[in-house]
């Protein structure tokens, strides 16, 4: 059973002909070729499929694509390379195989949006739903700390440009394909 479904992904509007009950993860990865949204556990426990739905981290393997209609879907592909979280993860070498890392980056973005200077326990609480089997957690903690500092520096420097991750869609904004 396929329906025409209109999604808003990384600010762009896109149509897919799919069964609305299929998981959002499959649609964005397989149909939209957004390779950062990864299949891993399939039961919402590892976070490799993390996307932001209206700014909040969500397990896209558990979200029927039909329920994502009308919501702002952000994936790692929607971030810029100079995004402070990305820069921090690269510079702290907070990755090994990298399969889980886009999920950590999105969860970190969401954390820093709510809590710009998180305490260690807040970092752990925000990332406890993301699994890194390689065991990069210590480096990830360092990266989150650096990301918070970089983000702060940019705000201090008057960089008022909201990042892609935080930009809420304007009503009626069709967006440009990215």
């Amino acid at each position: 059973m396929s329906d025409a479904i209109r999604l808003r992904v990384n600010g762009a509007s896109v149509s897919v002909e799919v069964d609305p009950l299929r998981p959002l993860q499959e649609i964005v990865h397989d149909e939209l070729d957004l390779s950062s949204v990864r299949a891993a556990c399939g039961v919402g426990t590892c976070g490799a499929c993390t996307v932001l739905l209206d700014g909040e981290p969500a397990r896209s393997c558990l979200v029927p694509v039909g329920l994502a209609v009308g919501r702002d879907i952000r994936t790692s592909e929607g971030l810029r390379d100079d995004d402070p979280v990305r820069v921090a993860f690269v510079s702290e070498h907070a990755y090994q195989c990298g399969y889980c890392i886009p999920g950590f980056v999105l969860a970190t973005s969401s954390l820093l949006e709510r809590t710009p200077a998180p305490e260690p326990v807040e970092i752990d609480a925000a990332l406890v739903g993301n699994v890194c089997r390689c065991g990069s957690y210590a480096a990830i903690r360092r990266a989150v700390g650096l990301a918070a500092r970089l983000r702060d520096e940019r705000l201090e420097a008057g960089d008022a440009e909201p990042s892609a991750r935080t930009r809420r869609p304007n009503p009626g904004d069709a967006g440009e394909p990215e």
Partner: protein, 788 residues
């Protein structure tokens, strides 16, 4: 970015031209794993698996499934027979058919492959295939496998013994009589699952008799060779490509899905892709469960008189890495100590379980869980500090391992001291840790352990360095990137050896049609063995360049100086740039080739080859807090030190060391896989708990120890992939024993086991004597049959 042509082939990038961009791509999620690959007109596979652990396979009924929507082909053992492949076997002991034939040997064994137009169609049709089996009595426990009347798991064998590794040295009987205290213990390890987040994936395609495969494999060279043998092809007619792996941890060692996917592609005439679902992973490969019985004697000075051990392993139904696992555990179980007399028997038996394979730590973790906990028990029983006891017994360079061979390069003492020192430092820094509860429900204590692990000896690695006309150098090896950063390592080694900037290196990903042989990316050997091959290739490339310049300038090679990017005639000062040399060469490139084989040295006295060309060495120290109300163990601080010899990539070395400790928390505290009726008791990551960031101590300090550089002695580069892992569980076990006075002997250290140990209320190591047959903890161990 949005919307792609589904018919476009997407096999991923074949090379890394810019390591910095690669790092950004990895973080951004842009790199392509095998799971992201696709080919035009590709079909999807789903497996039909055995529902029972043992039985005669009468056939598969595909009538209803064949008519299902989108089904292209259904391939089973009957097709193997028709294609003359019924007798074809692959695997560690060439014991595994491409698909089950005549019999099934474990729950989940692949019986048929459904090929369909989509993954969902393949999965739906696979559920409609009926497997007709006459079930027979399975062998589910390793000791049951050894009984005289046990069913034989593998046809054609006399019994269920897959391998038996034994080694003796010294006069055990005399040593026993010298012992003033003797300790006997039994420890057990359950199965576990490697649980890489990217599952096993294989895509295979046949084109004009050539077999092309994209696979999540840690050893493309050997998989290619195995596929060629299985299908009767020239080796050059098989191409195996390996994109970056989304984790492996040993689980992607050895051929697994490749033969059946290649066969399904051949029969269906379509490129076929198979992606394991998570439940499939738990029946594809596991860690070998093991029971260790170990005896040690000490003299009045607290020195070992002897140690001996028996290890009984469950291999599952096929031998993936079972033979090396039994050997690795056997070599390591007694530890890196001075032991005048010793004996080890390490027995691997077939059982009707999914096959056991490599698991980060390869058999050594199971062994060290026993050996290093017993060391602690001995020390505490004797009233000696466990660190001091180890210091008094650990080997120094030049001393003999229990096997009788000399260890040329021993650093366990330094590792132990560095681990302890770092833990002390961590305590001083640790201002954020909550203070111990005053109500007495939290008990805190420290534990240490050391680890020794072999590397495959001998094993071959080859490298080709190709200088191109644009002045860049292709580094071609079959070393697989699985997150350990091997691409950075080979590029750095090449750049250093060629004296060229790192940015000029292009790392070519494993592709057996292009990259040369490599035994395997496992055993923590790539940095060492592939690194050495790259260094040899660099020397060869420089020689060939000098020859070419010599011809071109008409001067003898010994008149040439290297001046950065140029070779210059010392007399005339005429020179030629490296790129120009390549441009002038046939094919526009100049190749340097290097091979490295770590042939074992022979002992100067005995003439026997050493067991390992070098030893991975490490030590771990932890502070734990045990909640005596809930039984929950929390690692509050951890420190580790591993011998690196020479660090190639400092951030990568740190990630390996920290990752060792963090990965090691899982099998220590949570991970366990049981097969009550032959089927795994866990099928997803909800029930199989992996370490999360909240399990990791905030204070986690590690160090990669290096030798001081000396002009004349080359210092080996050691891999760091497994140097600390085997020490993690026993360090935690030792800390828990110190905290609660009772010792956990079966992994994982679950809250239930901790509470049971608290309830048992035995006197702990120091209470009740501790001699075998005595009271206290040793009494609990006394019912194991008394060791050897």
């Amino acid at each position: 970015m949005i919307g792609r042509e589904p018919s476009v082939a997407n096999p991923g990038s074949a090379e890394v031209a810019d390591l910095a961009a690669e790092a950004r791509d990895r973080v951004a999620g842009r790199i392509r794993y095998a799971i992201d690959t696709a080919l035009p007109s590709m079909a999807w596979a789903a497996l039909v698996r055995s529902p029972v652990p043992a039985g005669r396979l009468r056939g598969v009924d595909v009538r209803s499934a064949s008519a299902a929507d989108g089904v292209v082909a259904i391939v089973s053992g009957e097709d193997l027979a028709r294609e003359g492949l019924a007798a074809a076997r692959f695997g560690g002991l060439s014991d595994q058919p491409i698909l089950a034939i005549d019999r099934v040997s474990y729950v989940g064994e692949p019986v048929a492959v459904v090929v369909a137009e989509s993954r969902s169609a393949a999965t739906a049709a696979a559920a409609q295939v009926r497997v007709n089996v006459d079930p027979s009595a399975p062998v589910l426990e390793p000791d049951a496998a050894l009984r005289a009347n046990a069913p034989v798991v593998r046809e054609g064998r006399a019994d269920n013994v897959l391998s038996r590794w034994t080694r003796r040295n010294g006069d055990l009987a005399a040593a026993r009589s010298r012992a003033v205290r003797t300790f006997r213990d039994r420890f057990s390890n359950p199965a576990a699952q490697q649980a890489s987040l990217e599952p096993h994936v294989c895509l295979a395609s046949w084109d004009d008799g050539r077999l092309r495969v994209w696979s999540t494999s840690q050893n493309p060279s050997r998989v290619a060779a195995e596929l060629a043998t299985l299908f009767g092809l020239e080796p050059s007619a098989v191409e195996v490509r390996v994109p970056p792996l989304g984790g492996a941890y040993g689980g992607k060692n050895q051929a697994k899905l490749e033969p059946l996917v290649a066969f399904a592609s051949r029969v269906s005439g379509r490129p076929v892709k198979l992606v394991n679902r998570r439940a499939d992973e738990f029946v594809t490969v596991t860690k070998h469960p093991a029971v260790v019985t170990i005896e040690s004697g000490v003299d009045e000075d607290g020195r070992f008189t002897h140690r001996s051990a028996e290890i009984l392993w469950s291999a599952g139904a096929y031998a993936l890495s079972s033979v090396p696992v039994a050997r690795a555990g056997g070599l390591a179980v007694l530890g890196p100590y001075r032991i005048p007399a010793a004996a080890v028997e390490s027995v691997m038996v077939y059982t009707n379980h999914p096959p056991g394979g490599s698991f980060r730590g390869l058999g050594v973790s199971q062994a060290a869980w026993a050996g290093e906990q017993q060391v602690d028990r001995i020390a505490r029983t004797l009233g000696i500090d466990p660190v001091s006891f180890r210091r008094a017994n650990l080997l120094a360079s030049g001393e003999r391992l229990w096997t009788g061979e000399r260890v040329a390069d021993a650093h366990w003492l330094e590792c132990l001291d560095a681990a302890v020192e770092q833990l002390d430092g961590a305590r001083r820094r640790d201002a954020v840790a909550p203070p111990a509860r005053r109500d007495g429900t939290l008990r805190q204590a420290t534990g240490v352990a050391v680890a020794m692990k072999h590397t495959i000896t001998p094993a071959r690695s080859e490298a080709i360095l190709a200088l191109r006309a644009d002045g860049r150098v292709e580094v071609r090896t079959s070393a697989v990137d699985m997150g350990q950063g091997v691409e950075v390592v080979v590029a750095r080694v090449a750049a250093d050896a060629l004296e060229l900037p790192l940015e000029r290196m292009i790392v070519v990903r494993p592709d057996t049609s292009r990259t040369p042989f490599d035994m395997t990316t496992s055993s923590s050997r790539a940095t060492f063995a592939v690194g050495n091959a790259v260094e040899a290739a660099a020397a060869d490339l420089v020689d060939r360049l000098a020859e070419a310049v010599s011809v071109s300038l008409g001067v003898p090679p010994d008149r040439l100086d290297r001046d950065g990017d140029r070779f210059v005639d010392r007399d005339s000062r005429r020179g030629i740039g490296l790129a120009a040399v390549a441009a002038a060469a046939p094919g526009g490139e100049i190749l340097g080739r290097g091979t490295f084989v770590n042939e074992p040295e022979r002992d100067v006295d005995t003439g026997e080859p050493v067991s390992s060309s070098h030893w991975h060495q490490g030590a771990v120290a932890v502070d734990v807090a045990v909640d005596v109300g809930t039984g929950v163990v929390r690692v509050e601080r951890a420190a580790g030190a591993a011998w690196a010899g020479r660090v190639v990539n400092p951030p990568g070395a740190r990630l390996q060391n920290e990752g060792n400790v963090i990965f090691g928390l899982g099998p220590s505290l949570f991970e366990s896989l049981e097969f009550p009726d032959g089927a795994p008791d866990v099928t997803d990551l909800l029930d199989y708990r992996l370490p999360t960031i909240a399990d990791v101590p905030v204070e986690l300090a590690t160090r990669a120890l290096e030798a001081p550089p000396t002009a004349d002695v080359p210092v080996e580069r050691h891999g760091l992939g497994e140097s600390l892992i085997p020490a993690v569980a026993p360090a935690i076990g030792n800390a828990v024993a110190a905290a609660i006075g009772g010792r956990i002997r079966d992994l994982p250290i679950s809250p239930e086991r901790v509470l049971a140990a608290l309830d048992a209320g035995d006197g702990g190591d120091a209470g009740g004597g501790g001699d075998a047959g005595g009271g206290g903890e040793a009494g609990a161990a006394g019912d194991t049959g008394g060791g050897r």
